[in-house]
Symmetry: C2
Subunit: 467 residues, 2 copies
C-alpha cells in the first residue's frame, strides 16, 4: 500500500474533484507559497470549473488566482485574510459571489461542523513520509507550525499532502497523521523560503511607535493582569513588538514569570521564552526562522491547531485563557469597533485572522494604532467594516492618548490613577481631525464583494465594491 | 471560565448522564485503575440505570462492575479485552445482553463513525491543567501513552478528565487537548502505580519458551523482511520478549537498522531503540516504567492514538506498514483461526486487543505458543472462538515445529530451505494429541454471552455461556 502518486494532476484526478466542489489550502508558507498556484493551475488545465477555494489566508503570491476567477475556474472564495494585491481586485468586483471572511477560530469551527464542507484539502508539507504523516518543522521549506491545516486534514473528504521533502516512514514528530491523508505528492519545491518566513523581526525605531509601545506596556502593567501566570499575544508589527520589549523589561525587573505566549510566534516571543518571561509558547504559525527553530528544538514551544488556538465551537480554546492581546487596526470607531479588513477607502487589504478570536477571549484586548496614517485618521464615527465588534475591545493606545472602552470603568480608573494620558475616544477623534482635517467619506459601490462572518457565525458586516 | 468541578459526582450530574446512556473508559492504568470504579460507584449512588460501559479493556480490579451489572446499573458492556476475573462471571451469564468485543482498531473506528456513540467519556489523566489539556506521561500515576483515550475524547458528547495531578495552565506536551474536554475533576489518586505498570518486563528462562523464541527469530530472519527499514511489534509475554532478544542480536550482528517498533511498548523495545535496532517507537500503551520514561524523554519514542495505530476506517494506520508481528494464542485451529478471547474451556479471559489489527496489517504475522498448556493442546479442529481469522495468520511457532499457513507457499519453501522444522498443522495437532490425549470438548450453554466483532465490523463469532 502506498499513497504516493506521480503528480499533482494525478492526485487531483484521483481525488474525484468535480465542478462545483470546494478545495482548501493553508497559509503557513505565506508569501512564499507555491502550492496553491501549482494545484490551481492543474485544476484549471483539467477543465474543472465553479470551485470554491477555502484558504486560511491569501497573499499576493496567489495573484494567479485572479485569472482562475476570471475564467470561472474559481467562483467562490473563503479566507480569514486576503492581502492587498488580491484584495483590490476583489474590491473592484471581480467575483459574482461575495467572498466569505471568517476568523482563524471560526474557520475550523465551520469546517468541523460541516457548515463549510471541504471536498479536497491540499496540505503543503515541508516534511512528509509516504503515508502522509507530515510536519512543518523540517526540510528546506520549513515553516514551523501547521496549525491552520489541522481542520482541513481532519474533515476534508479527500486529503492530498504535497511535499518537497519525502522522508522515511515513519516521520518522527508528525503534526498531521496519516489517518487523515489519502495521497502524497512530491514536487521540487513547495515554496520560496524567503517568502515563507522573514529572517528577522524588527522592533520599531519610529518615535511615535515607541511612545505607543511604552504606553501599551504601562497599560498592561497597570491592568492588574501582569503577575505570575500572565499570558500574552502580540502581533508582528513594529509597535507591537516594541511593546513586548518594554513588557519583557518590566517582567524581568519585577521577576514575573508568565504562563504562555500565544499566536503567530516571532523571534521576539522566543526571546521572552528564553529569558524566562513565559513557561511556554503555543504556536499556531511561525513568523520567522527563530520561531521555526525554537518550535523544532525547544519542548516548551508547542504547536497548536487553529481549533485549539481559537475555535469558539470547541469546549474551550487557548484564547479563552488569554490575559492580554495587542492588536492592530486600520480604523476604530467611537463604539470601539475595529476594521482590519479594508483600508480607510474601503479596499480589502487584510482580514480578521485571529483578531476577533483573541479580542473576544482576552481579559484585556488592546489596539495600538497611530492617530492617523497618510493623513487618514484612525478614529472614525463608524468603521468601513466591523472586523471585531467594539464590545470585545478594551483599550485604544495612540501617541495622542489612550481611550478606554466606557464599559471598562474600573480599568479606566486604574489607568487614570497611574497617571496615563486617558482621553475620551470622541475627544481623540476630534483632536486627530484638528490635525488631519475631517476626512471625506468616499462613496462605495452597490455590490457586496465580501461578507464578514463573526466568529460565532453571525453575518457581522458586508464589504462593498469600490467605485 | 473554569472547567474544574468539585467531585466526580458533580461532573456526572453536569454531564447530563441519564438512564440508557453510554459511558466510556480507557485502560492505560490497567490493573491499577481506580477511576472506573470511582465513577461507577457515584453513578450507582445517583440511581442511574441501564448504562452501557464502553471500555477499551477491563481488568480484575474492575470487579465491582459485577455488582453494578447485578443491580442493572450496567446492562451493556463493550470492550477489546476482559481479564479472567470479570470474564468468568460474564461466561456464567451474568448479563442479559451479550458483551460486544471489538479490536483496538475497530473500537475507535466505531466511535468515530457514530456506530457506538459515547455520551460521557471519563479520561483518567496522570496530568491535566484546569482546562483539560492532559497527558499520561507525568505525575505519580504516570502511565505513558494515552493512545486508547483519543477517540473517546474526540467523539464523546461530554468529556470528563479525572486527575490526581493538576498542573498550571497550559500543561506542556499534552496528549489530549482542552478542545474536547468539558469538565476536570481532581481526586487523591487515579490509580495504584504498582498495578499501572510493571517494574520490569522479564524474558522467559523456560527452555520451551527459549526454543520457540529462537525459532521465531529464525523465521523472521528467513522471511526476507529483516533488512533496513524493518518494522516490528511483539507482545509482553516471556517467549515474545525472548524472540525480540534473539532478533536484536541478529540485527546488531548484521547491522540492520529497522524503521519502527510498534504497539504496547515494553522496556525491551526501548532497549532495541537505544541499541539502534529501530529509528522510532510508536506507542499506543506503555507496559512498564522504562517505556513510560522513554516516552517522556526520548523524542524518537512517540505516542500514537488507537486510530493512528490500528483503525481500519482511517485512510491508513501504522499496522498497514508493519512488517512482522509476534502474537499469542490460547488456541489455534487447523484453519489457522486464533482464539485469544477464551481459554480452552470457553471461559472468557482476554480479547483481541490489537491482535486482529496487527495480524491483518503485518506482512508476517506469527503466533508463538507451546504445543499444550496444562495438558490442553493448542491446535484444535475448530477454535472455541475466532478472535483473528486464519487468513491473517501466517505462521505458528511451537516447540514441536513450525506450521505455515498453506496460503503462504513461498514462505514455507524459504523456511524449509533454511532448515527450520516445518510441520503441517494437522500433523502438529496429532503429534500434540499423542502427548496430551485427545481433549474432550466441553459442552457449552445456549446463551450468547459475547459477540466478537471483527475489525471490519462483521459479526465474527459468538461466545456461549459455560455450564
Amino acid at each position: 500500500m502506498s499513497k504516493l502518486v506521480k503528480s499533482i494532476r494525478e492526485a487531483v484526478i484521483l481525488s474525484g474533484l468535480k465542478d462545483g466542489m470546494t478545495v482548501s489550502f493553508h497559509h503557513h508558507l505565506r508569501n512564499g507559497d507555491f502550492v496553491l498556484n501549482m494545484v490551481m493551475a492543474e485544476i484549471a488545465e483539467l477543465g474543472i470549473k465553479d470551485l470554491t477555494v477555502n484558504a486560511s489566508s491569501l497573499f499576493d503570491i496567489h495573484a494567479p488566482l485572479l485569472n482562475h476567477i476570471e475564467n470561472k475556474v474559481v467562483t467562490g472564495l473563503s479566507a480569514d485574510y486576503i492581502s492587498a494585491g488580491l484584495g483590490r481586485a476583489i474590491s473592484q468586483g471581480i467575483m459574482d459571489k461575495p467572498v466569505q471572511f471568517r476568523t482563524h477560530g471560526g474557520r475550523p469551527k465551520d469546517i468541523a461542523t460541516g457548515k463549510t464542507p471541504i471536498d479536497v484539502a491540499f496540505i503543503a508539507a515541508p516534511a512528509s513520509d509516504a503515508m502522509g504523516n507530515c510536519s512543518g518543522k523540517y526540510g528546506p521549506s520549513a515553516c514551523g507550525s501547521l496549525g491552520y491545516a489541522y481542520a482541513d486534514a481532519m474533515y476534508a473528504k479527500k486529503v492530498v499532502v504535497i511535499t518537497d521533502n519525502l522522508v522515511s516512514y515513519p516521520l518522527q514528530d508528525w503534526s498531521i497523521s496519516e489517518s487523515y491523508v489519502d495521497y502524497v505528492v512530491t514536487v521540487d519545491a513547495i515554496g520560496d523560503p524567503k517568502g515563507i518566513v522573514s529572517g528577522t523581526t524588527r522592533i520599531t525605531r519610529d518615535p511615535v511607535g515607541l511612545i505607543m509601545a511604552s504606553h501599551a506596556a504601562k497599560v498592561i502593567e497597570t491592568s492588574g493582569l501582569l503577575k505570575d501566570g500572565f499570558s500574552f499575544q502580540t502581533g508582528a508589527g513594529g509597535a507591537s513588538l516594541a511593546a513586548a520589549k518594554f513588557l519583557k523589561e518590566i517582567m524581568l525587573q519585577k521577576g514575573i514569570q508568565g504562563s504562555f505566549g500565544l499566536g503567530g510566534i516571532t523571534g521576539y516571543m522566543v526571546d521572552m521564552l528564553q529569558a524566562g518571561c513565559f513557561r511556554n509558547l503555543l504556536d499556531v504559525q511561525c513568523f520567522d526562522l527563530t520561531a521555526v527553530e525554537s518550535l523544532r528544538n525547544d519542548p516548551r514551544h508547542q504547536e497548536i491547531s487553529a481549533m485549539h488556538y481559537a475555535a469558539p465551537g470547541s469546549r474551550s480554546a487557548v484564547v479563552d485563557s488569554l490575559d492580554v492581546v495587542i492588536l492592530g487596526a486600520t480604523e476604530i470607531d467611537t463604539g470601539f469597533n475595529v476594521n482590519v479588513h479594508t483600508d480607510s477607502n474601503g479596499v480589502i487589504m487584510g482580514g480578521s485572522g485571529g483578531h476577533s478570536d483573541t479580542a473576544a477571549g482576552a481579559k484585556l484586548s488592546m489596539i495600538i494604532a497611530p492617530m492617523f496614517r497618510a493623513r487618514m485618521p484612525i478614529v472614525t464615527d463608524r468603521v468601513t467594516c466591523i472586523s471585531t465588534p467594539g464590545k470585545d475591545i478594551d483599550v485604544l493606545v495612540t501617541q495622542g492618548g489612550i481611550a478606554v472602552n466606557p464599559a471598562r470603568v474600573e480599568l479606566r480608573e486604574s489607568l487614570v490613577a497611574a497617571g496615563l494620558p486617558i482621553v475620551d475616544i470622541h475627544e481623540l477623534k476630534e483632536k486627530t481631525e484638528r490635525i488631519t482635517g475631517k476626512p471625506k467619506r468616499i462613496p462605495h459601490g452597490d455590490k457586496v464583494v465580501a461578507e464578514v462572518i463573526g466568529r460565532e457565525g453571525n453575518l457581522q458586516d458586508q464589504i462593498f465594491s469600490i467605485l
